[in-house]
């Protein structure tokens, strides 16, 4: 399992109605720390794909989603479960720190 892009059009079906927890990575091309955290999320998706999904939302292309979820800092990770935000993680973190933050879902 690797990561895929989600848009305003597909957010409902891919995130809100997903059966597994979904980590949504809000990012932009001009955000240096976003570029650093992206390959780490790919790894987490590969290693824990049976427990959760990881998707990416480009905030430039999907400003409505960024506004709806009150994103003011990126990279921002939001974990959705049953259509609700159950956890928020702000800023680029090393893999071990992200795995610790996501322990409730991948433990």
């Amino acid at each position: 399992m690797s990561t895929r892009d989600v848009t305003t059009q597909t957010f409902q079906s891919d995130v809100l109605e997903a059966s597994k927890p979904v980590v949504v990575d809000f990012w932009a091309a001009w955000c240096g720390p976003c570029r650093m955290v992206s390959p780490i999320l790919d790894q987490i998706a590969d290693e824990h794909g049976d427990k959760l999904e990881v998707v990416k939302v480009n905030v430039d292309e999907n400003p409505q989603l960024a506004a709806q979820y009150q994103i003011t800092s990126i990279p921002a990770l939001k974990v959705f479960q049953g259509g609700e935000v159950v956890q928020s993680i702000i800023g680029a973190k090393p893999k071990a720190a992200l795995e610790a933050d996501l322990a409730a879902f991948i433990g």
Binding site: C31, I40, D60, A66, T72, S73, I90
Partner: protein
């Protein structure tokens, strides 16, 4: 065992790597997993790096430095150092995932980290309108009124950059004059969207799920006031990142790693410091790069002397 491990991937670390690699030391550079490239990765236009008359984007400059370091054979590891042991002839550098590296010399070029205001609200509203990175987060404040706290070059750069998005930018500074360079000051003074709030410090931030206002306190007479803003960018300086070497390397009263005169030599033989982590004063990309050069040359000299001693010992024994 390696000749040299360099910790850090800003201008100091990469420049040290370029020099060391060209001297055939085959250096290993531990770049960090999420902060490779250092502080310049979070900047836009760099106008004062010599050789770029049109300016250069911070991330692009760092990619070029990385490429140049690789060209001469630097091994670059995208991982974080968790622990170091710097005493003795063999130094050990441990990483999260890539194992341990043993080396005869180590260059510590870990840079500095954003300073926080140090109030509870700052942590609580981080990612909810409080930010340390204008280039990352400015986009989300289109048409809003926001504040930058700080009086140095980075505060002026952030304030000026943020006027691209924000309707109005207050610069809150606790003195009545700026530390920033003349050109950065003039640019901010000339910008109609920027208004200065002198002699005030931020003592509180209000808002439940998003920043709504700042509580300011006058540094002159202690009067408190409220300033309604939708975001706060903190640019009050940086602190040297020395947690890895606490208890092993001597620090100065400024908190930087202490080095011997104009050299990069620390209190431990074979351990050298470079860049912002040894520099309480200048902290420029160019001075960091120069400092990386000094460290690479010092490490090279140290290794050559040691090799000389070893061969003399061998000759004496035979």
């Amino acid at each position: 065992m390696r000749n040299l491990v360099i910790i850090g991937s800003g201008p100091a670390g990469y420049t040290a790597a370029i020099y060391a690699a060209r001297a055939n030391l085959e250096p290993v550079l531990i770049a960090s997993s999420v902060e490779a490239g250092g502080e310049l990765m979070n900047t836009t236009e760099v106008e004062n790096f010599p050789g770029f008359p049109e300016g250069v984007q911070g991330p692009e400059l760092m990619m070029k430095l990385e490429e140049q370091a690789r060209r001469f054979g630097t091994e670059i590891i995208l991982d974080d150092v968790t622990e170091v042991s710097l005493d003795g002839d063999v130094k050990t550098v441990k990483t999260s995932y890539s194992g341990d590296y043993e080396a005869a010399t180590v260059i510590v070029a870990t840079g500095s980290a954003y300073r926080k205001i140090g109030i509870e609200d700052e942590e609580r509203l981080s990612g909810r309108g409080v930010s340390w990175c204008a280039t990352c987060d400015g986009f989300f404040f289109k048409g809003k009124t926001i504040a930058v706290v700080g009086g140095g070059d980075s505060a002026m750069e952030e304030a000026t950059f943020l006027t691209r998005f924000a309707e109005k930018v207050y610069v809150v500074h606790r003195r009545d004059s700026l530390r920033a360079s003349k050109i950065m000051q003039d640019r901010a003074f000339d910008n109609d969207k920027i208004e200065f709030v002198w002699n005030n410090e931020v003592v509180g931030i209000t808002g439940e799920s998003a920043v709504e206002a700042l509580t300011l306190r006058s540094t002159v007479d202690g009067t408190e006031s409220e300033l309604a803003v939708g975001g706060l960018f903190v640019a009050i300086g940086n602190d040297p990142r020395t947690h890895l070497v606490h208890g092993q390397l001597e620090l100065t009263s400024d908190g930087t790693i202490a080095v011997d005169g104009r050299s990069s030599r620390t209190n431990l033989a074979g351990v050298f410091g470079a860049g912002d982590v040894i520099d309480p004063q200048y902290r420029q990309a160019v001075t960091a790069a120069a400092s990386g050069t000094v460290a690479a040359l010092d490490a090279e000299h140290y290794l050559a002397e040691r090799a000389g001693e070893d061969s003399r010992l061998l000759r004496a024994q035979s």
